[in-house]
């Protein structure tokens, strides 16, 4: 039997803001991009959630729901700083830590806990240590696999601590909505509803073959996860798939100079983040959303992974100018992401003329943009 702990920070971005600004503590803190205009909510404090404010909701809607809210800009660098601190302290318990995102991680304590009770004890210590060292609260779940551990941490948010044993799992799963199953999105949910299935327990009588026939691979997942069976391992070497930033303009923009300027700023941000994470990227993608909401992405993959701003900017700008139809079309959103990431060598001889050697093939950054 495995012993897995899932850690999920409570309203992470908003909580960090409350930590750093005592005067906003306990208030309806809403963190998002493009606070003044049309961005979306990245994180809302539990106080703000009382008014119906949720992540991914347009800021404008959040303002209507919660006019007295404190709206703050995303400070990704600061969140990453705390995230690194968090992951380090988790690794003090066991090296088997799988970070899922900046504020979420799995720990496999199978080998260090003698029995399940001890795993529960470790879970409590993890929670306590996070509070002591970061000043933030986390919801922690302890179970025998990743699916159940994650489910557990989500059951009593915020500041929750939930244990799901193998004996209890069926009871707990039985009445939960099917959407709690990882991988079940709106489409699957609808299809299941059409079959008369809305709770996890209602999935049990359906044979695996039938689920596979209807849902393909996902059918197998539904069959096992609905029974609380999940053999996926805690993967310690976690490599983020991409680093991305985007921005919604205050008004739709036609002016190429403004668009490029914005793209340059975003590029600078993602490259900075890439460097901080000690990664290099091979694929550069830009995303453009037109005023009619049609969204396109254009990408290019280069041979040598890079973390050079001049190189990334060269390709991002080239994609924008050569692969995106801009003539007389207004743009609502622009974004850039870096993917196909590889680890930068931990010990690396640095080079002279690096930028110069690149710039031989790469157009220089437009004047006034540096």
């Amino acid at each position: 039997m495995r012993k897995i702990i899932h850690v999920d920070m409570d309203a992470f971005f908003a909580s960090v803001e409350e930590l750093d600004n005592p005067e906003v503590r306990g208030k309806a803190v809403i963190v998002g991009g493009g606070i003044e205009g049309r961005g979306v909510v990245s994180s809302a404090s539990y106080e703000a959630r009382k008014y119906g404010v949720k992540s991914a909701m347009p800021i404008s809607r959040a303002r209507k729901l919660c006019p007295h809210g404190i709206f703050l800009e995303v400070r990704m660098e600061r969140y990453i700083e705390i995230s690194i601190q968090l992951m380090r302290l988790l690794k003090d318990f066991t090296p088997l830590v799988e970070p899922v995102s900046v504020d979420e991680a799995f720990l496999d304590v199978t080998d260090i806990a003698r029995d399940f009770a001890e795993a529960v004890e470790i879970g409590k210590q993890v929670k306590k240590k996070i509070k002591a060292e970061t000043g933030l609260t986390a919801s922690v779940g302890v179970a025998t696999n990743k699916f159940l551990a994650k489910l557990a941490s989500g059951l009593k948010k915020p500041d929750g601590f939930v244990v799901i044993t193998d004996e209890e799992k069926e009871n707990i799963l039985k009445d939960l909505p099917v959407s709690e199953i990882l991988g079940v999105g709106k489409v699957t949910e609808k299809a299941l509803h059409a079959m008369g299935i809305s709770t996890i327990g209602q999935l049990w009588p359906i044979p695996q073959e039938e689920l596979v026939e209807r849902f393909g691979k996902l059918g197998r997942v539904l069959y096992y996860l609905s029974r609380g069976i999940d053999n996926s391992p805690v993967v310690t070497v976690w490599e983020p798939k991409s680093v991305a930033r985007s921005c919604t303009f205050e008004r739709d923009i036609k002016d190429l100079r403004v668009i490029r300027r914005q793209l340059y700023d975003l590029t600078e941000d993602v490259v900075k983040q890439l460097k901080e994470m000690n990664l290099r990227a091979k694929t550069i993608t830009i995303k453009v959303r037109y005023s009619n909401f049609r969204t396109i992405t254009r990408s290019i993959t280069i041979d040598t992974p890079t973390d050079l701003l001049s190189a990334v900017w060269h390709y991002a700008d080239m994609l924008l100018r050569e692969k995106v139809e801009l003539k007389d079309r207004a743009i609502r959103l622009i974004g850039v992401s870096l993917s196909s990431l590889v680890q930068a060598p931990s010990v690396e001889q640095l080079h002279l003329f690096e930028e110069e050697m690149r710039s031989e093939e790469i157009a220089t950054i437009p004047k006034g943009m540096e």
Binding site: P345, V347, Q349, F353, M357
Partner: protein
């Protein structure tokens, strides 16, 4: 052709040419030397088409003018084994007869007509540099040339005349060596070109065997050099040399003065506890001290304190020890000035006006 001379006279000239033929394998005639006797002197030539050297053999008694082309390796070997006596060389058809106390040898020769022509040197438009100065400058930079073809221009040494002085620059993209030297004379000339490493090494060899001055000039495609006894012609490498002036940091504020020999000894000791895979030492700057450290898993740890003049902030910076030792070797004795900024930016090592070295550190990622 018929001539005679002391064995040592011929041998010393031959040895100067040796490196030219050593590297060539493609064409047999490029592994040969041409010996030409004219009036009262003899001249030896060797070329690999990139670099050519012409060297006077003297004193020599010429009985009959003429030319012979012989395989360099065998000729040199034979002369090495020859007793310290006279040797007589004489053409017999396509063969060359070598005779004296060492015995009688007949060596097959090549057709002199097929031997490539090495451009001749005219003094016009050349600069003069003392042989010592030239040799010293080359020694300070040549080790920094790129050996791999990262970028073709980096495999050579940049020669440039600027502000009335001669400059040499070499870099492999990780460190850069820069030397300045005084001209001893010579008129107006433009010298600005990249000389292949082999050409530079041969030039140094010529300067070493020479007292007095060496004349240098460039004609756009070649470097030509002439000392009393020898002439060198080297092709230039085409292309744009990296902008070395940009690579020299201007705002390194952490300035250290150290004894070059003492620092080199400390680095050499610490380097013993590194491996080829992890060839890395750390310099820790503190007030009045540099601690040289090495830490190699499964090998061990080294820590050497070196007293220096320093009053700035603490800094920890990693380097390939060879890169530091190369520069300290070029500096030899006395005080080396070191200038740092941060752990991931170029450092400077220099001695007075004549030598400047820029070296990139090894970035040490924080272990997480």
């Amino acid at each position: 052709m018929k001539l005679s001379c002391q064995k040592s006279t011929m041998l010393s000239s031959l040895q100067l040419l040796g490196p030219v033929t050593a590297g060539t394998t493609t064409k047999p005639i490029l592994q040969a030397v041409k010996l030409e006797a004219i009036d009262d002197k003899a001249v030896l030539e060797a070329t690999d088409l990139e670099v050519g050297v012409r060297c006077l053999v003297e004193p020599v008694e010429v009985q009959e003018a003429g030319t012979v082309v012989l395989q360099e390796g065998r000729l040199t070997e034979l002369l090495r084994e020859w007793p310290e006596e006279k040797i007589c060389m004489e053409t017999r058809g396509s063969m060359c007869l070598l005779s004296g106390k060492g015995g009688v040898f007949k060596m097959a020769g090549y057709d002199p007509e097929e031997f490539p022509v090495i451009p001749t040197f005219s003094d016009e438009g050349s600069v003069e540099v003392s042989a010592d100065e030239l040799e010293g400058m080359i020694k300070k930079v040549v080790f920094a040339c790129a050996s791999e073809r990262v970028r073709h221009t980096m495999t050579g040494v940049l020669f440039r005349e600027e502000g009335g002085e001669l400059r040499m620059v070499a870099t492999d993209g990780r460190r850069l060596a820069f030397a300045r030297g005084k001209k001893s004379g010579g008129g107006k000339t433009t010298m600005d070109g990249i000389v292949p490493r082999r050409g530079v090494e041969l030039l140094s060899r010529i300067a070493t065997h020479q007292e007095g001055n060496v004349l240098l000039k460039m004609d756009g495609t070649h470097l030509l050099a002439k000392s009393g006894k020898a002439t060198l012609c080297s092709q230039l490498i085409e292309g744009q040399y990296p902008n070395y002036e940009e690579a020299v940091p201007k705002d390194n504020d952490k300035k250290v003065e150290a004894d070059a020999e003492g620092l080199a000894a400390a680095i050499r000791r610490a380097t013993i506890l590194t491996t080829a895979e992890r060839h890395l030492i750390k310099l820790k700057l503190q007030k009045g001290m540099i601690v040289v450290e090495a830490e190699t898993p499964e090998v061990g740890e080294a820590m050497v304190d070196v007293e220096v003049k320093y009053s700035g902030e603490d800094l920890e910076i990693g380097f390939n020890p060879d890169f530091l030792l190369d520069a300290l070797k070029a500096i030899e004795k006395g005080t080396v000035q070191l200038e740092f900024k941060g752990p991931a930016t170029a450092a400077i090592m220099k001695r007075s006006h004549d030598f400047l070295y820029v070296v990139m550190p090894i970035r040490l990622a924080e272990t997480t």
